[in-house]
């Protein structure tokens, strides 16, 4: 009975005997990823609860059980948790940590103790955000965007929220830094950049955004704190300050942040599609380079959040043009994925149907984004339910759905067991139907003028809110059921083999399932491409004792 990473671990400080302290002090990337997942999904459900509370309030016009101020706090908390605590750490924190080093044949990340420190920094940030709910006037009520001048004047716990976001931003920066050095330094011998799996490309591009964009919001939040506390004047019109400058500085990060969210998700898509089409991915180089170009061009488009702020027409035109441009690499990826599936032997396992469902929902999210890139349309649709539906289709229906796909895909790798396939599929359909019922009516409501962040509305919009509420109930049931299926799978599921999907990338060529502490028995020499299939079967085979190729 060989040892796995659940039986033994390396620690940052000393050699603790208790299992609890071994988890608290572990520097093993696989355990750290699991801990991130546990905390993140807890907060995810807190934010889902706040969303459900809002949907309940909005079921009918007028105040039911929440007043306007509490509603403002609810959507702020929902946004802060979902964005800063869940989606931005998101796939990099969980799968970047657990899977990426395995994919490149490394034994851990470049700085394991920094990784451990970063996890606890993340916890501190979560703690500060959570504390802001219970102190003073409660959670900030400014929206997760903290726009000046309201954020400067409100008495709610804005400073705590800003500090929490800053600390969480630092954790994101350090994760990106760690992954960048890992990918540059620790790839197995022979693995050039163009022999890396596409998920690693996604993490690499994401890491550059984490590194270079996050500091901008970090300093913006500090400047906002200094403005609120010391009155330095830069965002306060009574001193000549310009609130639109805050918007610019905020979105210079927050737009690249959405690319930070989607690039690892696209990486997961690029792993699932070839495995379940039993075929080499079409256009490997273009997908890899499109990840890099999305990261690059994505830095230049932030102004499309400011069309109605009073920016000059020239600037608006520049940003609109660049935003259309950044959609092109994403389109390239979609075509490459479809081309991969063409004439492949499609296997409709749960990860694959999540990926296919996401192609539909993200395509809707992306295309509705294109509509509001047009300045004239955006003047009408800005700050309506149309925007809200757009970004939920893109983030929830894109990033989070692919995160769920990745969870189903790598579940046997991480836990050594398999979930019930039939029940997992039912969970998918509940989620998919509920999601669309919840969000699609909002496009229409927004088009007819339903504003966002409003806790009351005219009676003509009621039907949309009611349909959305039904969708919310189905969707949340689907979410809970999906986690139940995972729980049953982890505790009582069938034992899985190290390569249940018969995939080609290195994380599936481990000697045991779950993996041993030190990952591969020996680091292999990589003289093959990541997705080599021949007639539906993987080409590369290993002897797991020596990690020599035997094909």
């Amino acid at each position: 009975m060989s040892k796995t990473y659940f039986d033994e671990t390396h620690c940052a400080i000393g050699h603790p005997k208790s299992k609890f302290m071994q988890w608290m002090l572990t520097v093993d990337h696989k355990r750290i990823g699991i801990m991130y997942a546990a905390v993140m999904f807890t907060f995810f459900f807190v934010a889902v609860f706040t969303a459900f509370a809002m949907r309940l309030e909005l079921f009918a016009p007028g105040a039911q059980y929440m007043d306007g101020d509490t509603f403002n706090q609810a959507f702020t908390l929902h946004g802060v948790i979902m964005i800063f605590l869940f989606v931005i750490p998101g796939i990099p924190a969980i799968f970047g940590n657990i899977v990426m080093p395995l994919m490149i044949g490394a034994k851990d990340v470049s700085f394991p103790r920094l990784n451990w420190f970063t996890f606890w920094l993340y916890i501190v940030g979560c703690g500060i955000a959570l504390t802001s709910i219970f102190l003073g006037e409660g959670v900030a009520d400014t929206g997760w965007t903290f726009y000046a001048p309201y954020s400067l004047n409100t008495g709610t716990n804005v400073i705590m929220a800003l500090v929490a976001a800053f600390v969480l931003g630092m954790a994101s920066i350090l994760t990106g830094l760690n992954f960048l050095v890992t990918i540059h330094r620790l790839r197995a011998p022979g693995m050039t950049f163009f022999k890396m799996p596409l998920f690693v490309w996604g993490i690499y591009a994401t890491a550059w955004i984490q590194l270079l964009a996050t500091p901008v919001v970090g300093i913006t939040l500090i400047l906002a704190i200094l403005e609120k506390y010391f009155g330095i004047g830069i965002f306060d019109p009574s001193k000549g300050g310009d609130p639109v400058l805050f918007q610019h500085l905020f979105w210079i990060y927050s737009h690249p942040a959405v690319y930070l969210m989607i690039l690892p998700a696209f990486g997961i898509m690029s792993e699932i599609i070839p495995t379940f089409s039993r075929k080499e991915i079409f256009g490997y180089r273009t997908i890899a380079l499109s990840s890099a170009s999305i990261a690059g061009i994505g830095y230049l488009v932030w102004g499309h959040h400011l069309y109605t702020s009073g920016m000059s027409d020239t600037a608006k035109s520049v940003f609109s043009f660049l935003t259309f441009f950044v959609a092109i690499p994403t389109g390239v990826k979609f075509y490459d994925w479809v081309a991969t599936m063409y004439q492949g032997k499609i296997v409709l396992s749960t990860p694959m149907i999540w990926a296919l469902g996401t192609m539909i929902t993200f395509a809707i999210g992306g295309m509705t984004g294109i509509t509001i890139t047009m300045i004239g349309l955006d003047i009408h649709l800005q700050d309506t339910y149309y925007s809200v539906a757009h970004f939920h289709y893109a983030i929830l229906g894109g990033v989070v759905f692919l995160m769920f796909a990745g969870m189903h895909y790598w579940f046997p790798l991480i836990t050594g067991r398999m979930y019930d396939e039939g029940k997992a599929k039912i969970a998918f359909y509940l989620n998919f139907v509920g999601f669309n019922l919840l969000w699609f009516p909002m496009f229409i409501a927004g088009y007819y003028g339903m504003p966002r962040r409003y806790f009351d509305y005219l009676p003509e919009f009621q039907i949309y809110h009611q349909v959305s509420f039904v969708g919310a109930v189905i969707f949340i049931s689907g979410l809970i059921y999906m986690f139940f299926v995972f729980y049953k799978g982890w505790t009582k599921g069938e034992k899985a083999t190290p390569n249940p999907w018969n995939a080609t990338t290195l994380e599936w060529h481990l000697p045991t399932s779950p993996p041993p502490l030190e990952n591969h028995t020996k680091v292999p020499y990589v003289d093959f491409n990541p997705y080599e299939y021949h007639h539906g079967e993987p080409v590369v085979k290993f002897d797991y004792k020596t990690m020599q190729r035997i094909d």
């Binding site: 019109p237 000549g240 310009d242 830095y299 009073g310 920016m311 000059s312 027409d313």
Partner: protein, 111 residues
């Protein structure tokens, strides 16, 4: 990897002192410049001198000379700073559309 220890101590030390003299001279020039030329637009020569100083520091004190991987990363970061913070905002500011009505820029706002 301790190949960074194969150094010629005397040569490197001389290099450090040469850079120091260069930086001190440049600092001196920044003090003389307002009395010599371009006094009304001091910003431009001051920033050019700052860039030259920065170049010397980065290449010599920070040992960046010859670094094949890190130099392109430095260029990428600087380009980002330049593009965001100078070009795009510069375009926006140059086309300031509501200067006459805005509280913070209108003439009544005490320049």
């Amino acid at each position: 990897m301790v190949d960074t220890n194969n150094i010629n101590y005397e040569v490197e030390k001389k290099g450090y002192y040469k850079v120091l003299i260069g930086l001190l001279l440049l600092t001196g020039i920044t003090f003389i410049q307002p009395h010599l030329f371009m006094a009304e637009a001091s910003f431009v020569p001051q920033m050019i001198i700052a860039v030259i100083k920065a170049y010397l520091i980065v290449i010599y004190y920070m040992h960046l000379k010859g670094e094949k991987l890190i130099i392109p990363m430095v260029w990428f970061t600087l380009t980002l700073v330049l593009v965001f913070f100078v070009i795009v905002i510069g375009i926006d500011v140059a086309n300031f559309q509501f200067g006459a009505e805005s509280y913070i820029t209108a003439p009544t706002a005490h320049q």
